[in-house]
């Protein structure tokens, strides 16, 4: 409990730092008075904090929680330490939706994205969500017919390849301008959301995350493997389906608003297990939410460190932090002689 409170404090500090720091330097008391709703007379600062940094930090937090909990659920469901949001093909589905919107027009000569900038952003979110949910429903149907969760995992990876092939074909026939827009989307960014979107995202993520707390007992039972979970009185088939659906929903929500974010969902559960020296989900689920939010906010902060003119792509930062964690996990597992 004490450690969780420390994490909460760290999150609040990181959130504040996310509002404070950026390419445009602001005074802290200026930020504070903007947040309190006092008119500072400096409307530029107000727009920067309320329209840009606040939704960005909120989105970073929401996506951090969503992907990390998804990663934990997938790792427990598939009893595989390397399972993560990218393996189910759900984020590939989101990419496919976005590729259709961004590239299809150029590839076929039909102008689909003629509307203004804001409208186009909305279309992208809708397309990503549709793509992610389409793949998710395929996965759920497959998992309801096939009991073996590893088979579902492999099918998810294969769907990812198929979707990527379609995206590659679209890329081949599209013009360089559209291609650049797609590549930029793929690099991931927390700054694509409006204030309303970011708050809705955070609210829905926290709601689903709270719902996962009801599954602490079956999740713990599944640590002993599917057969033992069954003998402890759980309908493992139904549970597998539920966990795949919840994590798919998390990935769909996260990816739709930010583009695919690498490594966060894979690395955070490992960090939490090591930090708390446990795999008990009663401790791990809240820990993963807190560490996920904190790590995501840190990555967003590093991406926009003062001194850099513009922000780094968020995927570059999460990969630089996440990949070493995954390597360390593998090396650590090997050193125990496995």
């Amino acid at each position: 409990m004490f450690r969780n409170i420390i994490w909460l404090v760290i999150i609040v500090l990181l959130f504040a730092a996310n509002l404070w720091f950026g390419s445009v330097p602001l005074q802290w008391d200026e930020v504070l008075s903007i947040l309190q709703g006092q008119i500072t007379g400096n409307s530029v600062a107000e727009i920067i904090v309320l329209q840009f940094r606040l939704p960005q930090a909120t989105t970073a937090m929401a996506v951090g929680v969503a992907l990390s909990v998804a990663g934990l659920l997938l790792q427990t469901t598939f009893a595989n330490p390397l399972a993560g949001p990218s393996v189910l093909g759900v984020s590939s589905g989101a990419s496919f939706g976005v590729a259709l919107v961004l590239l299809f027009g150029g590839a076929t000569g039909i102008q689909l994205t003629s509307a203004d900038w804001y409208y186009r952003e909305f279309t992208l979110v809708a397309a990503a969500l549709a793509g992610a949910l389409a793949v998710l429903s395929i996965i759920v149907v497959v998992s309801s017919r096939i009991g073996n969760s590893v088979t579902v995992l492999i099918i998810g990876i294969m769907i990812g390849y198929l979707v990527n092939a379609a995206v590659g074909t679209l890329q081949f026939y599209s013009n360089s301008q559209d291609l650049q827009a797609y590549v930029l989307w793929g690099l991931g960014s927390f700054s694509k959301t409006t204030v309303v979107q970011s708050l809705l995202l955070l609210a829905s993520v926290l709601l689903i995350a709270a719902a996962t707390l009801f599954f602490v007992k079956p999740l713990n039972a599944m640590l002993l493997g599917e057969s033992y979970a069954r003998s402890s009185g759980f309908n493992t088939r139904m549970l597998n389906r539920t966990f795949i659906f919840i994590s798919g929903l998390f990935i769909a929500l996260g990816t739709a608003f930010t583009g695919p974010i690498a490594f966060l969902g894979l690395a955070v559960p490992h960090l939490a297990r090591t930090a708390y020296n446990t795999s008990d989900h009663r401790i791990l689920l809240p820990a993963v939410m807190l560490i996920g939010a904190a790590l995501s906010l840190s990555c967003n902060l590093i991406a926009r460190l003062p001194g850099w003119d513009s922000s780094l792509p968020i995927n570059a930062v999460t990969s630089v932090i996440g990949a070493p964690i995954v390597i360390w996990v593998i090396v650590k597992a090997r050193s125990y002689g496995r």
């Binding site: 713990n220 009185g233 125990y336």
Partner: protein, 265 residues
């Protein structure tokens, strides 16, 4: 010794049960049609050569596999009409599945035996804790409670899983090859422990094993599985009627009924 010696109750009845796997629409039947009953307080050992379907039979009884034919009834109730949770109140399992998690403690593993009961969050009641402590003491792993499960020896792991099954407080415990990978004195003490459970707590034990000599020594009843063949009865009867020889003898190895051992011809 006591006046009110508990009367053996009928727990599980197998009725023309055929087990095996369904691959697509094809059924691969492994065991013959088995009709047998398990009574409370009975120690039953399932013997048979490799591939005879011992594990398949156990998994079918536990509800992990569907019967290909016939019925399984728990106290006159078909088990396929029971939920996983109801089943978990009737029979506990000790399986050959490996537990990969590196952070689970032995105590946590045993505590999952209490999951069929209790609250949504899995918070343990004082009674749960007492049950877990007693189960761990019964199998002699109480000092290992805070150790990580993966760091235990094979014998300690096996005893921890048996403690989990005891903590589940079911009338029947099914064990799949519990004596495999354990040294010889360990095997004997494990069998003695299981025997004690049947005598002192009226639990029924159904175990598969390749340690046929130990099984004949400790079990009340043998279930012999062969190629499309099933025999059950007292160990002495099974030996006397030559079923052991028929199932196990090979060109150069034979079972000697006098020494109760397999010897080279």
């Amino acid at each position: 010794m006591e006046d009110n010696q508990p009367v053996a109750r009928e727990l599980l009845a197998l009725n023309h049960l055929k087990t095996g796997y369904a691959v697509g629409r094809k059924q691969i039947v492994i065991t013959a049609a088995i009709t047998a009953t398990i009574y409370s307080g009975e120690f039953i050992a399932v013997l048979g050569p490799n591939g005879a379907g011992k594990s398949t039979l156990l998994k079918t009884i536990l509800g992990h596999l569907k019967p290909l034919h016939g019925k399984i009834e728990w106290q006159n109730k078909p088990t396929d009409q029971m939920s996983a949770r109801q089943m978990a109140g009737c029979m506990a399992a000790v399986l050959t599945d490996k537990i990969d998690d590196r952070y689970l403690t032995a105590y946590h593993v045993v505590s999952t035996g209490r999951y069929p009961y209790g609250s949504l969050t899995g918070k343990l009641t004082p009674y749960d804790r007492q049950t877990i402590d007693e189960a761990m003491t019964a199998t002699g792993v109480e000092t290992l409670a805070s150790r990580k499960f993966y760091s235990l020896s094979d014998g300690e792991k096996q005893k921890t899983m048996i403690a989990r099954a005891i903590a589940q407080q079911t009338p029947l415990i099914c064990l799949d090859e519990p004596t495999a990978f354990i040294d010889s004195p360990g095997k004997v003490s494990l069998m003695r422990l299981l025997k004690k459970l049947t005598v002192e707590h009226q639990k029924s034990i159904l175990l598969t094993t390749h340690d046929s000599e130990l099984a004949m020594q400790f079990a009340d009843k043998l279930w012999l599985l062969g190629n499309q063949d099933f025999q059950s009865g007292l160990p002495q009867t099974m030996i006397k009627e030559g079923h052991i020889n028929r199932l196990f003898d090979q060109a150069d190895v034979a079972f000697n009924p006098l020494t109760l051992r397999f010897e080279s011809k």
